[in-house]
């Protein structure tokens, strides 16, 4: 399993939009009459040898499983072979309450945490950018450090901080004469507890990328604005933010995809409960596949997850690109 696709570091989904144009040109150059292809291949046999290890691994552990995943989703998997059932699994997915609730929870989680994460990264990066070199490095590290820490560890300590009797949160609430709250133990607060947690983990990747992009904005733009009498805030609003748009688009896509795959916190802190108050799509897939061993159904669920992520990505791409 490509760990990067599952884990906390959302590095894998690249904005490949920038590359195609260049590639297209090259593709044209590559197109030669057929008879030369064999000769070309022979001449460049060493290139294929260099590619071979990756190609073998890729074919075995990514390409075949991806194609296979679609086949599985149309089957009922049993110990003695499997049986083709058409769209049955998909029908079951859409009719089941469990999936609906998981989808609802995942959507709520995403809708709150993604904008919060991206906006707070923008604000933090803007503040950090105002400071000197040393302070910049200091804060960049401070905000990135939680990102390199495994989500397993973060989930464990937050579970401890949310502890009913001795947790930090109820202690702090006590200062204001409120609580104690059974954060993770009751269905009315459990999902929100996880959302709050996500919001308070700084979006380290976002901060670093924003800082890098801010450094690349041409100073002449700011000078022109200053001559027009624009203050710092106006400069930020009318120059910095529009100039950062590609970064914002990338970060929104990145964190949306990551957020749809939220899993580690769930299994470490609530197990989807109480009831199914914190059930999310990936946790449901995990449960269906590896607790109930309903491979076909879990396969259909994961294909649906893929399609949902794809749709969201396309919509965001369109929306954020179009109002340029």
């Amino acid at each position: 399993m490509p760990a990067s696709l599952l884990g906390g570091v959302q590095m894998t989904q690249m904005p490949i939009g920038a590359v195609p144009k260049k590639e297209e040109e090259k593709l044209k150059v590559m197109k030669r009459p057929n008879k030369n292809i064999i000769k070309d291949m022979k001449k460049n046999y060493s290139a294929y040898l260099f590619l071979l290890p990756k190609l073998i691994l890729f074919t075995l552990f990514i390409a075949i499983p991806v194609v296979w995943a679609f086949f599985i989703s149309f089957q009922k998997y049993k110990i003695f072979g499997s049986e083709f059932v058409g769209l049955d699994n998909y029908i079951e997915v859409f009719q089941s309450d469990a999936f609906r609730i998981a989808l609802k929870n995942t959507l709520l989680f995403t809708i709150v945490t993604v904008p919060f994460g991206v906006i707070s990264a923008l604000v933090l990066a803007s503040l950090i950018f105002e400071l000197g070199k040393i302070s910049q490095t200091l804060f960049r590290s401070a905000f990135y450090l939680p990102t390199v820490t495994s989500m397993v560890i973060i989930a464990m300590v937050w579970r401890w901080m949310y502890n009913y009797d001795f947790g930090l949160f109820n202690y702090v609430l006590g200062w204001f004469g409120a609580g104690p709250i059974n954060w993770l133990g009751q269905s009315s607060t459990a999902l929100w507890a996880l959302i709050i947690m996500q919001c308070l983990i700084p979006f380290g990747v976002g901060i670093i990328l924003y800082l890098a992009s801010m450094g690349a904005i041409s100073q002449s733009l700011y000078e022109a604005a200053r001559m027009d009498g624009a203050g710092k805030f106006k400069q930020w609003l009318y120059i910095t933010i529009p100039q950062l748009k590609p970064t914002t688009l990338y970060l929104v896509l990145l964190s949306t995809i990551g957020s749809f795959q939220v899993f580690t916190q769930i299994i470490m802190m609530t197990g989807g409960g109480p009831g199914n108050a914190t059930e999310t799509l990936v946790h449901l897939i995990y449960k269906t596949g590896f607790r109930d061993f309903e491979f076909g159904l879990a396969g259909a669920q994961s294909v649906v997850l893929f399609v949902i992520i794809l749709i969201f990505s396309v919509i965001q791409f369109r929306v954020l690109r179009h109002d340029e």
């Binding site: 760990a3 990067s4 590559m30 890729f58 390199v148 464990m156 937050w158 001795f166 596949g289 794809l310």
Partner: protein, 323 residues
């Protein structure tokens, strides 16, 4: 020019504001270490029964062993001067107790649980995958960037397009396949799929573009074989890219969780995250013990991060918006 003092003042405000945010965001990590070193059993002469500062209300914000140790140390010195040997011995005993209790959970982890093994497994798998990825992906990235051969663009785009497919999609087929290959509950089940991650191909290809063609041609004219050119010319030039890719691979593998909990069943084979989960599931462990385990798992990544910070930034910006 007389704007300067105000500018400084603004910067100070920003600095303080950011410090508050930084403290909030680092608090959970601090809490891991603080709890892992918290005194879990302490009884002084005037206490009826031992208290635990781990489960205390209000929570203790720092390991209580520190002030108590110095308290007993002072008392021991006083008793020594007064010539009271029993009193001195008592305080010396308490000091020893405080030290052994403070670090006790780490000892328990390594003695009673398999944390030492988990730690080793995590390190060894992360190193094997990282070295493998660096070699395999730089080879692939190199030819995809620098060689022209039929099918090159096809291969690249097929590989890259799978980056957009969430990993959960391949979970079940991969599980069946690993089972059929007889690799279930082995480290190969982790290493092989991790080695096929495609992000590195993309990153290395981007990086290899910056290597000047003249250097490659010069090597060719000198009669160097393709492999020799790659090994002695290309790889040294690609060092910054390799460093960035290496760090991210290491981090991803070190923190990887969903797949390992699916394929590993034997406690001896666990990686740290999987081990931590079973430790928490067992419900026997105190929060002090759990946080100690979390600390053991967190420390290597924190060290790697501090040592190689600039490569983290480089890797992110390379793979990100700017090419």
């Amino acid at each position: 020019m007389n704007k300067r003092p105000l500018d400084r003042f603004n910067k100070l405000i920003i600095f303080l504001l950011l410090s508050v945010f930084a403290v909030v965001s680092l608090l959970p990590l601090y809490w891991v270490f603080s709890t892992s070193l918290q005194l879990s059993s302490y009884q002084s002469q005037d206490m009826e029964r031992p208290v635990s500062y781990v489960d205390s209300n209000p929570p203790k914000m720092y390991p209580m062993g520190i002030p108590l140790y110095f308290e007993h140390w002072g008392e021991a010195r006083k008793a020594e001067k007064a010539g009271d040997a029993t009193e001195e011995a008592y305080h010396r005993d308490m000091m020893n107790h405080i030290v052994s209790n403070t670090f006790g959970s780490f000892k328990t982890l390594f003695k009673k649980h398999d944390v030492g093994k988990w730690f080793f497994n995590s390190i060894y798998i992360a190193v094997v995958v990282t070295v493998g990825i660096l070699l395999i992906d730089s080879m692939a990235g190199y030819v995809l960037a620098k060689k022209k051969f039929p099918g090159r663009n096809w291969i690249f785009w097929i590989i890259i397009s799978t980056m957009m497919i969430p990993g959960q999609v391949t979970l079940i087929p991969l599980f069946i396949m690993i089972g059929n290959l007889g690799l279930m509950d082995t480290h190969w089940a982790l290493i092989l799929p991790d080695l096929s991650m495609v992000f590195g191909v993309f990153l290395m290809r981007q990086f290899m573009y910056s290597i000047p063609d003249e250097l490659l041609e010069a090597a060719k004219i000198d009669g160097a074989s393709e492999w020799r050119t790659f090994w002695t010319v290309v790889l040294p030039l690609a060092k910054p890219g390799l460093a960035a890719l290496g760090i991210f691979t290491f981090m991803n593998v070190w923190n990887s969780f969903l797949w390992p909990i699916i394929v590993l069943n034997t406690a001896e084979l666990y990686t740290l995250p999987v081990g931590l989960k079973t430790l928490q599931d067992a419900n026997l462990a105190s929060f002090k013990l759990l946080m100690s385990g979390a600390a053991v798992a967190a420390i290597p990544m924190i060290v790697v991060f501090i040592l190689f910070q600039r490569y983290f930034v480089k890797g992110l910006t390379l793979g990100g918006v700017k090419e």
